[in-house]
Amino acid sequence: MVLQTIWFFLWGLLWALFFMTDGFDFGIGTLYPFLGKTDQDKRIMINSLGPLWDGNEVWLITAGGVTFAAFPTVYAVMFSSMYSALMLILFALILRGVSFEFRGKVDDPRWRKIWDTCIFIGSFAPALLFGVAFANIFKGIPIDHNGVYHGTLFTLLNPYGLLGGVLFVMLFLVHGALWLAIKTEGDLHERTVSVANKLWPVLLGVVVIFLIASRFSTHLYDNYLAHPALFLIILITVFALLSIKFFLTKRAFFKAWFASALTIVGSTFFGIVGLYPNLFPSSLNPRYSLTAQNASSSPLTLKIMLIVVIIFIPIVIGYQIWTYNLFKGKVTKDDLSYDEAY
């Protein structure tokens, strides 16, 4: 049915938008202990995403909400089978969110150290775990005909799952470094650019390994081989990945960041398109897989929600662009003197 297919790709798009936006905060949070030498560096790093990170996490809520409303069976099975992993993500995100707020409230190095650690863990852990979770979805999850999961948290930490985790961490690190390069100046800026230059070849290597490993660990390429035109998605993604380096060398940081955003969206869609029509494939038996057809809500629900989404998603995108525009420009030492600064 057409509605189910539309919702399948909307589901993929919302996850892709979440990775594209919150991805750079996860990256900056992970780079934080390495690039933030002084308290001022750290505050500039936090303030570079201060007005944006919580808006970015709106996409996580919409992606989760869409999974719940459009594919309730997937929501139920996903949250049960990945219970521990998703709980870890949740706690990491809680700690990260409060750390930004709490850190600046007391002027004591020990106090700040605690929240610095939480910012790092709260950024690195979700980046890794989202990658692990999605790589496992690409690969297939051991679920039976009732959607009951036969495995533990450690089942998810298989080599391909971990490779997916590393891929996400690398994507977000590059994405974060580029955002920080846009937002900073002086010494921190130069160190950030140098880190971005060092991270890029690693990302390239991980992407190549991931594309090859996907051939052996997943059935993602079946759709591509059946419809060779789809290989365009991989080509565009690889092209975007190469343009990051091109723009980085020319010190066109915004363009490089944009190319990195496209790389993240493209990487997500590489998996989503390969999965179709599966949302949550079973590794035990393909007949147990949850698909856009057997796991969706009623056509009426999908239709009503489609109207809602067509109205509200552009509004959300609109106000987010407005926010980004409002807070464009570099974060400087002077910006830190505002009472509202983190």
Binding site: F79, Y83, S84, M87, V98, F102, K105, V106, G147, V148
Partner: protein
């Protein structure tokens, strides 16, 4: 009124089979405490309105207000307790029992996450409380002194 019809029969608790009754004691006290608090708040507000011009001279009233800060939170929590406990054994009233809605996951996982929630929320609650007390102790920021503008800049 419950059924949006004045003539409808209101069924008492005893009309329901025993295994479809919620824990009564908890629902009973959470509802009544919530309503009592809900009556107290407008009363305090009305008293405050009469005293509005001499609040500083009413230390007793100010003390009551200070100690009332936790009460709205308690009322909110009690409302939740009533809604969640009072609905049992249903998770979706009349459609699905709570026991049928439980996920097929090991109870150890649920126990660990429950303990983690209690720990993290207690920790964050304690930190939040510490910061609020610290800020309250500092008192309000000194008001801008109007005379200062008139004086020559003494930088």
């Amino acid at each position: 009124m419950v059924r949006h019809d004045f003539n409808a029969e209101v069924r008492g608790l005893k009309d329901f089979p025993k295994d479809e009754r919620p824990p009564v004691l908890l629902s009973f006290f959470s509802f009544r405490t919530m309503v009592a608090l809900g009556t107290l708040f407008p009363l305090l507000t009305i008293i405050g309105w009469f005293k509005r011009n001499r609040l500083v001279e009413s230390p007793g009233y100010l003390k009551i207000m200070l100690w009332s800060i936790p009460l709205p939170y308690i009322a909110i929590e009690l409302g939740w307790v009533l809604a969640e406990v009072g609905r049992q054994p249903w998770i979706v009233y009349g459609l699905m029992k709570t026991s049928d809605a439980a996920s097929p996951i090991a109870s150890s996982q649920v126990l660990i996450s429950l303990i983690a929630f209690i720990l993290v929320y207690s920790l964050l609650g304690a930190v939040g409380f510490y910061l609020i007390v610290k800020n309250a102790r500092q008192g309000p920021a000194p008001e801008a002194v109007p005379e200062a503008a008139a004086e020559p800049a003494a930088a």
